[in-house]
Amino acid sequence: MALPTMRQLSVDEVAAGCRDEAQRPRRDEAGYCFELFRRALDDGSQLAWQALSTQYHVLILDWVHAARPSSSSDVDAAAREAIERFWRTLAGRGEPVAERFPHIGALLKYLQQCAVCTVLDRRRREQRLARLAGRLQSDATLALATPGPEELAVEADERAEQLRRAQGWVAAVSDPAEQRVIALSFTEGLSPAEIAARFPAEFADAQAVRQLKERVLRRARRALIDSGEVA
C-alpha cells in the first residue's frame, strides 16, 4: 500500500478506487476504501464522509435487513442512523483510525455492528410499544376506539414519543425512596407486598409502598397523561 501516493489523490479519485476495490476480493485491495475512512475520521473531510455514506449505503441496508428488524418500514432511516452512530462513536476520539482498525475489514465489521445496534434499539422500542398496547388492551376501561390502518402508524409514533417522555420523567425523579419504588415496581415487577418484605428497613409495610407508588403515579398521570391522552 503506497500511502504517500494515495494521500496525494483527490477524494473523488480515492472514492472511485474504493468503488472498484469493493468489487474485488480483499487480498487485491490497494487501500482506497481504508484511505476514504481515514480522511473522513482522522482528517474530518466532509467530502470523504459523503463518499463513504454513498458507497456503503446499500451494504448497510443489507446488514440492517439481515439483523431482522421488527419493522421493514424504516430500514432506510435505520441505515442512516447506523452510519451516523459509526461517525459519532469514532470521530473526535483523538486516536488515528489505523491504530484501532488495522484494515478495512475491521472498519467494516464495526460499521456492521453499528447497523445491528440500530436494529437492537428499534427492537427495544417495539418491546415497549407492545407492552403498552398489551396493558391498554387488557383493560377495557383504558382502551379507546380501535384505530383504522392509517391511524396506526401515527399512533405508534405518538406512543413512542409518550414513552420517551415517560423515560425522561422517571429520570428526573429525585427522591431516592420514589426512585426505589419505581425501579422495583416497574423494572423488576414486584408488588408492594414483595417490596416491603424484601426491604423492611426502607418500607414499614405494603401500605407504605402503595402510598409512595400512588403518589408517583398521580404525578406521572398529571405530567404525562393529563397533558395528552394515552393512545
Partner: protein, 234 residues
C-alpha cells in the same frame, strides 16, 4: 387505626386506590370506590400511568445497545466497561444482544440482489458437455463442464497445470441471452482465498494455480448475478 364502615371521599388516604386495585381494600373502602365516580375516574388515570411507566421502563436497568456496541468494540472507558460487562453477565437479554453484535448475521445473497434490483441466476451443472464446445487454450486432458440456466451458459474447462504440480487451471466462457457483457468473475471455495477476474470482450475468463477442492463461480453482470455452485476441481 380502624376505619369507619362508611367512607366519604375525603377520608380516602394515599395508597387506598392501589390497595383496591390489588384486591386488598377493606369492605368499606371497596364499597366507596365502586360507587364513587371520582374514584373511578382516578383509578383509570392511575392504571393508565401504571401502564405507561411499566412500558417505558422495559429493560430500563439494561445498558443501551450503544453501550453494548462500545463494550464489544473495546471503545468503552474501563470503569464503564466493567459496569456494563457485570450487568451483561447476569442478563440473558444483554448476553444475547452482545452475541448478535459479536457475530452479526450475514445478508442472504438472494435478498441482497433483489434489493439491488439484480436477478440471481443459479446455473446448474448439465449432465454432459457437448463436444462441439471449445474453450480457448483448452487442453485435451481438460475436464469440461457446462452450467446453464435461463439462457445463460458457463462453459468451464479444468486442466492440470503442469503435470504432477497438484494445481489446476480453470478457463471458462460466459454466454448470455444478449451476447457478451462486461462482468466480474469470482472464484471462491474452502481451499483458497476468493479470487476475481474480469470477463474479456468475448466473455472468457481464467484462473491459474487452483488447488483441488470445491468451488463456486459467481459472475456479476450489470443486471444479473450468475452463480455456478459445486464446481469440483479436478
Amino acid at each position: 387505626m380502624s376505619r369507619p364502615t362508611e367512607l366519604s371521599h375525603e377520608e380516602l388516604r394515599e395508597g387506598d386506590l392501589l390497595a383496591f386495585l390489588d384486591g386488598l381494600a377493606a369492605p368499606a373502602l371497596a364499597s366507596h370506590i365502586v360507587g364513587c365516580p371520582g374514584c373511578q375516574h382516578e383509578l383509570v388515570g392511575l392504571r393508565q400511568a401504571e401502564a405507561l411507566l411499566s412500558a417505558a421502563l422495559v429493560r430500563a436497568a439494561c445498558p443501551a445497545p450503544e453501550q453494548l456496541l462500545l463494550l464489544q468494540a473495546g471503545l468503552l472507558a474501563a470503569d464503564a466497561a466493567r459496569l456494563v460487562a457485570a450487568h451483561a453477565v447476569s442478563c440473558a437479554d444483554c448476553t444475547a444482544e452482545l452475541a448478535l453484535l459479536a457475530d452479526p448475521p450475514q445478508p442472504s445473497l438472494p435478498g441482497r440482489l433483489a434489493r439491488a434490483g439484480v436477478r440471481l441466476v443459479r446455473a446448474l451443472l448439465q449432465p454432459a458437455a457437448p463436444r462441439a464446445l471449445a474453450l480457448r487454450g483448452g487442453e485435451p486432458s481438460a475436464r469440461r463442464l457446462v452450467f446453464a440456466a435461463e439462457g445463460y451458459q458457463i462453459l468451464v474447462a479444468v486442466a492440470p497445470l503442469p503435470p504432477r504440480s497438484g494445481r489446476y487451471q480453470i478457463e471458462g466462457q460466459l454466454l448470455t441471452p444478449i451476447g457478451t457483457q462486461p462482468g466480474l468473475v469470482r472464484l471462491s471455495g474452502s481451499a483458497q482465498e476468493e479470487r476475481a477476474a474480469d470477463l474479456d470482450e468475448l466473455g472468457f475468463f481464467a484462473f491459474d494455480t487452483v488447488l483441488p477442492g470445491a468451488y463456486a463461480l459467481d459472475i456479476e453482470l450489470a443486471d444479473a448475478q450468475v452463480l455456478a455452485e459445486l464446481l469440483e476441481v479436478p
